[in-house]
């Protein structure tokens, strides 16, 4: 765990390379790199403009509006915000335990989202890098190139995502930005026709998800020199885990481990998250840097998301995914794997788990029950936490006696991974940039490192694999030496 390359000691005579924007996703991201005359890297920073506005403008709004409003943070995984807010507001309306039907319907919605989001990330955004190489022909390094070279893989990616979107549609009313969850439960159950339509496809969705795990496993194992070291850094990691330490995306308690896998805390009720996690503000970034209070700012940062979750849980409750988890753990050699590119492997294990859970839920008649709402003693404060596709997501609200929101705090997955992504980008810059001319291939190496963590940073403007990057090399006098852009 190091702060190396975060701040140069004497930045005044260094050249500045800015990648701006890295992408636009509810804001902008950029990478800045400071180089000396010998092209030695002195400073690398990933800056991201965060979703801060939402926390302010939902203040003064009625609480029941929030789950629908906050999901507009994102078009990729709006269900995460929809459900995290709903969970927080369940606490507010005194719904300590939802009806079985409501909880299972929400879980179905969320696992449908995991499936579609992971499929989108792997097949549409990352498979071009992984199948063709990071600095392969840029004109073919996109989903269209994948469709030409590997039509069956591309087709499955599209259909896996489509299936996940259908699961969301039947539970939330729309594929994107629906209204299914309300404080205290759900507003709809499944019809027999809706359930049967999904049942028709779920078995080959499970099989395709298994094939996807095997595909990335093969790619990873074939080139351990690259996949086990690209952008690597060691860190703590955190996620929620379910009953008995199971992998659980919808509900559980907070668990954190150090870089060797030793437990830092476990079984933490997320209503108390602010006793364990604090956010640091740094002058150079709009995004905060969360850390574990017990370890302090320097050593307490962590990573979240698939790589954290799959290694944090004791087991996975579904058989195929559990088998793949064991394969991954065996490959890692009994100690935590920290390589960013291993996110892809674990992400596909999670996609398989999501498909298996959907299959099981579709055989549960509770989904057809209209017993959907509970309420209890009204509270003034609530926290909702969920494992979003790219990591742990916190929603925290206070509500006044007139039902209006007075305080909102959101810690999104990207924020949790802030320091981790910075470290990965620094490693890549140190390894690949030192002493070299800026090339498109270099740009893509930086993108590959970022993409491994968070498609939110790459996909909104990176559709079809073309992130609108521009890099300018400026000499110490401020003159443009070299520029390269892709739009």
């Amino acid at each position: 765990m190091t702060y190396n390359l975060e701040t140069a000691e004497h930045p005044e005579r260094l050249r500045r390379v800015a990648i701006d924007p890295v992408s636009r996703v509810e804001g902008h991201g950029k990478v800045t790199i400071l180089l000396d005359d010998q092209n030695k890297v002195h400073q690398v920073r990933l800056h991201i403009v965060e979703f801060r506005g939402f926390e302010k403008f939902i203040q003064g709004r009625p609480y029941w509006e929030v789950p629908v409003m906050v999901q507009r943070l994102c078009g990729i995984c709006p269900v995460s915000h929809h459900l995290a807010a709903s969970k927080a507001l369940d606490i507010i309306v005194g719904a300590k335990k939802l009806t079985p039907a409501a909880e299972k319907l929400r879980r179905l919605m969320h696992y449908g989202q995991m499936l579609q989001s992971h499929a989108l990330h792997f097949f549409h955004l990352c498979s071009p890098d992984l199948l063709f190489g990071f600095d392969s022909d840029v004109t073919k390094r996109n989903i269209v190139g994948v469709a030409a070279a590997h039509p069956e893989i591309a087709k499955r990616g599209v259909l896996l995502r489509k299936f996940g979107q259908e699961v969301i549609r039947v539970t939330a009313g729309k594929r994107v930005h629906g209204t299914g969850a309300v404080p205290g439960g759900m507003n709809k159950c499944l019809t027999v026709a809706e359930r049967d339509e999904l049942l028709k496809d779920i078995y080959h969705i499970v099989q395709w998800s298994r094939d996807a795990v095997h595909l990335i496993q093969k790619v990873h194992i074939q080139d351990p020199g690259l996949y086990n070291s690209f952008g690597i850094f060691r860190s703590n990691f955190m996620s929620i885990v379910g009953h008995n330490g199971d992998l659980d995306f919808y509900h559980g308690t907070l668990r954190a481990r150090d870089d060797n896998g030793k437990m830092i805390f476990d079984g933490v009720d997320y209503q108390q998250y602010d006793k364990y996690i604090e956010e640091e503000v740094r002058s150079w970034s709009y995004m905060k840097f969360p850390y574990f209070k017990s370890l302090g700012k320097e050593h307490g940062w962590y990573k979240v998301g698939p790589l954290a979750r799959v290694q944090n849980c004791n087991q996975i409750s579904t058989p195929f995914a559990e088998h793949e988890r064991k394969e991954f753990v065996d490959y890692a050699g009994g100690t935590p794997m920290h390589a960013p590119l291993a996110y892809h492997w674990t992400r596909m294990i999670e996609m398989l788990h999501a498909a298996e859970v959907i299959k099981d839920l579709l055989h549960d008649d509770d989904l057809l029950s209209d017993n959907l709402m509970v309420e209890g003693e009204r509270q003034s404060e609530g926290v909702g936490v969920i494992e979003a596709p790219r990591g742990t997501l916190f929603h925290h609200y206070r509500v006044d006696e007139n039902d209006l929101i007075t305080m909102a705090n959101l810690i999104v997955s990207t924020t949790n991974n802030n320091q981790a992504m910075n470290e990965a980008v620094r490693h890549v810059a140190r390894r690949y940039l030192n002493g070299r001319e800026v090339t498109e291939g270099l740009l893509n190496h930086i993108e590959v490192a970022i993409r491994a963590f968070d498609p939110c940073l790459s996909c909104a403007t990176h559709a079809l694999g073309k992130m609108p990057l521009s890099v300018e090399l400026i000499d110490p006098e401020g003159q443009l030496v070299h520029s390269l852009s892709r739009s």
């Binding site: 507009r72 009313g173 729309k174 507003n187 007139n402």
Partner: protein
């Protein structure tokens, strides 16, 4: 034999004293409107129901039908003007359909869809308007008020309470609550009042019920506004 006029070429029977809107509604022909409600005296303010009667533009909710009158309603020219009026209503208030609980039940939104409104066209005013959440059962979100005055008329003429009024003039006209504090909680307003049921947009809302009806089962999901004669 009753008297008739023609509406877009169709013969519409009417009785003495009926307006064009009343006769058209009875005959099963829809004319877009927002401030008109069959249970209340016409207000004639929103102008969405404007038609051409014998070549002159007029509000169909206030214009009495006359024998032999030739009325045009569903013409490209009139619908373009209705669309512009609707766009102005959207930009004068804060109408954020994506997070509005009235979405799918909202007459303004449904009318915009009916008229083919694809964008607000005009610059948003983004007025700074308050929310009144003081009442235990009802939320007032003034951001969405289109000044139709239906709540004013319902509270005055049916409930006999005079809870609401329009204040100010011109572009500064706004809905107020008739209490010294200006708060709904300081009136005798009740969820059972007629005024609580007539808001065509998302101003007067029952608390804690938002989004209870799933997408696909909301009023205008089931029947788009042009397919219901009364439009509400």
């Amino acid at each position: 034999m009753s008297q008739t006029f023609t509406l877009d070429g169709k013969s519409i029977p009417f009785e003495d004293g009926q307006t064009i809107m009343q006769a058209a509604t009875k005959a099963g022909v829809f004319i877009p409107h927002l401030c008109y409600h069959p249970e209340f005296k016409p207000h004639g303010s929103c102008k969405l129901c404007t038609v051409k009667a014998n070549g002159r533009q007029t509000a169909s909710c206030t214009m009495r039908a006359m024998a032999g009158m030739v009325v045009e309603s569903e013409t490209e020219e009139i619908n373009a003007e209705r669309r512009a009026l609707t766009q102005m209503l959207f930009v004068e208030g804060n109408h954020f359909c994506p997070s509005c609980e009235k979405s799918g039940h909202c007459q303004l939104q449904a009318t915009a869809y009916h008229l083919g409104m694809m964008s607000p066209h005009f610059d948003h005013f983004f007025p700074n308007r308050a929310v009144d959440a003081s009442h235990p059962e009802v939320l007032l979100d003034f951001n969405r008020c289109i000044l139709c005055s239906l709540c004013v008329r319902a509270s005055r003429d049916v409930d006999g309470k005079n809870v609401f009024a329009l204040s100010g003039r011109g572009i500064k006209t706004h809905l107020i609550v008739n209490a010294k504090s200006g708060k709904l909680s300081d009136t005798d307003f009740s969820l059972a009042d007629k005024a609580a049921q007539v808001c065509p947009v998302g101003v007067i809302l029952t608390k804690r019920k938002g989004f209870a009806v799933p997408i696909g089962e909301r009023s205008y999901d089931k029947q788009p506004i042009g397919e219901t004669v009364e439009g509400r």
